[in-house]
């Protein structure tokens, strides 16, 4: 059973992720009173990038991005195979570290600043992500995804604070305003393209595909909170994704100080209060 799910994840995640990215661009365009590109546009973009020449500053920068891609896929694969939530979070961090290393290795001023900011973003979302693992363990008494997903009650009823803390850091993972510091899909980048500045052609296509896998994985964590009912889980995940577009279009980018301070504050206050409540209640 889990092998089937795992295989369908490996095949379907980039398709779903790409379609979601297409939906994102379409909805964003409608919010800006534009018509927007076709839903399949992200696929055209990636296929085009595979046809382009790949320029590198140092050959090893591509290697780091390949590791980033493999580890991102691995993170999602662990999740859909029903693995350990802690291990999944560590794998995600490791994937992020390889992306940061790739940015540093390219050693242009823009990609280095982008890499700095990516590291700061990772530092900002880690506490909330750990709260998710801790909170889910305290309720279900297991770190295994298979146990968490089969928990009879809806986790959101007992973990609302943890969910809000997780929701707060979602723009970081989706690379949306107000937390799109390291790189953004929009043209209004003051650091050229941030961490992806020095990547072109196939390498950029791989980064984009890793992002699709990552989006599906992040939405799967959202699903965990509502896993007791499949349809509620799926529709809430989609709603959360749509809410990111609204937030993206309604906010301006914050400075990194505000990013780190606010995400830690929200994680510690909302997530922390939720977990302390669970401890007291026993």
């Amino acid at each position: 059973m889990s092998i089937k799910i795992l295989l369908s994840y490996l095949v379907l995640a980039p398709i779903v992720g790409g379609l979601l990215a297409g939906l994102d661009r379409r909805v964003t365009a409608r919010m800006q009173n534009r018509i927007g590109p076709p839903i399949l546009q992200p696929f055209y973009d990636v296929l085009k990038l595979f046809k382009k020449e790949t320029l590198v500053v140092r050959p090893s920068q591509t290697l780091y991005i390949e590791f980033f891609f493999v580890l991102t896929v691995f993170t999602g694969a662990l999740f859909f195979a029903g693995g350990d939530l802690l291990l999944i979070i560590f794998a995600l961090t490791l994937a992020g570290v390889f992306f940061v290393l790739g940015g540093f290795k390219a050693s242009s001023p823009y990609s280095v600043i982008g890499a700095h900011r990516e590291a700061l973003q990772m530092m900002s979302y880690e506490p909330a992500l750990m709260m998710v693992a801790v909170g889910m363990y305290m309720v279900t008494k297991s770190f295994q995804i298979t146990d968490i997903i089969h928990y009879p009650k809806s986790l959101i009823m007992v973990l609302p604070g943890v969910f809000l803390a997780f929701f707060f850091i979602l723009p970081i993972k989706f690379r949306k305003s107000p937390f799109d510091l390291s790189t953004s899909h929009h043209a209004h980048q003051e650091l050229v393209k941030g961490i992806t500045t020095e990547f072109s052609g196939k390498t950029l296509a791989i980064i984009e595909m890793a992002h699709w896998y990552e989006n599906v994985f992040v939405l799967a964590i959202v699903y965990l909170f509502f896993a007791s009912n499949v349809w509620v889980g799926l529709s809430v995940s989609l709603l959360v994704f749509l809410s990111q577009m609204l937030i993206d279009n309604a906010t301006a980018r914050v400075r990194w100080q505000a990013l780190v301070a606010s995400s830690w504050l929200v994680a510690l206050v909302l997530g922390g209060a939720n977990i302390i409540y669970l401890m007291i209640r026993g």
Binding site: R25, A29, Q32, N33, R34, I35, G36, P37, P38, Q41, Y44, D45, L47, K48, K51, K52, E53, T54, L55, A187, Q189, V192, K193, T196, T197, E198, F199, S200, G201, L204
Partner: protein
Amino acid sequence: MSVLSKSPWIIHYDGSSCNGCDIEVLASLMPRYDVERFGVINTGNPKHADILLLTGSINEQNKPVVQNIYNQMPNPKVVIAVGICATSGGVFRECYNVLGGADKVVPVDVYAPSCPIRPEALIDAVVKALGILEKKKAASLAEEVKK
């Protein structure tokens, strides 16, 4: 039509333009013309771009910048001279500091003279450029096959 012409990413460089053409370039991305319908993205990064839009005449100061941007773009790539200044130097052609049009420093594929350019003319130029982009890709593939 291959995927190359379905996702043209542009980079826009202002040589010594009066900003007339630059405003029209950006106006094409705005709701009225919305060139993102055809997948056009203003990347602002030469390493991600397929099409270089040059506005304004070329002078000694921006010559190395234009050449640098052109060299940083991955193949296949095309250059569009946007407006009469980038096409030939326009009214600034005889100025002591002006070298002339964009084709004095980089190979230009499409000329779109106007003052300033109309968004319709710009979109037309980009469509022409996409045809050239396809041809360049086909030519490079044929060369690889020969080798």
